[in-house]
Amino acid sequence: MDEVFAILIALAGGMAGGLVGVGGGVLFVPALTICLGLSQVEGESTSLLMIVIVALVGTYRQRAYGNVDLRDAAVIGVLSPLGVLIGVAVANEVSQRALELSFAALVLFIAYGLVRRALAPRGD
């Protein structure tokens, strides 16, 4: 039964990847930990593997639809490890709760911007 839930959640995570371009880790991690009993660290690590596979297939499909700029993607991807180091360093200095609240505020601000832009008139 837990496997069935894991499969359904993984399906939804992949669907989110295809629809909005995220890796799906937000859903893969709970599928791996809550449904399949992996520890948090094991779940996050294994989720990374799944994200790579899903993103690879998603990129392949999106490229067929003409929706991928490989050069921009390469620049973003190659420069991200620098950010990971900064992020880990910051996480060790600042309280987790402060980080969570700051990030929550930031994503809400971004969501507001996206909604405002989506509702503005344009040819689509």
Partner: protein
């Protein structure tokens, strides 16, 4: 849009900022960089939603690969078989998701993304 032969330095700088920010949020919260990459490509480069999400997925391949190699190689925390079989429904989902995405208006993608961000914010707050 990005077919210009040389990458102008201000464009490169903005891409560098996006990559670094995506990395920072991965390092802080363990979320993929997509949450940051997609909206910034839309706001800063006027990418259409489909191009932004497709390019984000390609960037995530690299980001995730670097992370998975570090985790699997250095720490040995990746459950290979579990990850592989659970990837099967996930891949079915992403193929279906991209197919559906081609058939809905771009602004609907933005609204879906905003809904996902609100869900993430709620999860972070509570």
């Amino acid at each position: 849009m990005a077919s210009d032969p040389a990458l102008p330095s201000n464009r490169l700088l903005k891409l560098a900022v996006i990559g670094t920010l995506a990395g920072i949020f991965s390092g802080l919260f363990g979320v993929g960089g997509g949450t940051v990459i997609v909206p910034l490509l839309i706001f800063w480069f006027a990418y259409g939603e489909r191009l932004a999400t497709g390019t984000s997925l390609a960037a995530i391949v690299i980001i995730g690969l670097l992370g998975a190699l570090a985790q699997g190689g250095i720490y040995g925390n990746v459950h290979l078989l579990t990850g592989l079989w659970l990837s099967i429904p996930a891949v079915v989902g992403v193929v279906a998701g991209t197919a559906i995405q081609q058939r809905i208006p771009q602004r609907a993608i933005s609204l879906l993304f905003a809904a996902l961000l609100v869900a993430i914010a709620i999860e972070l707050i509570f």
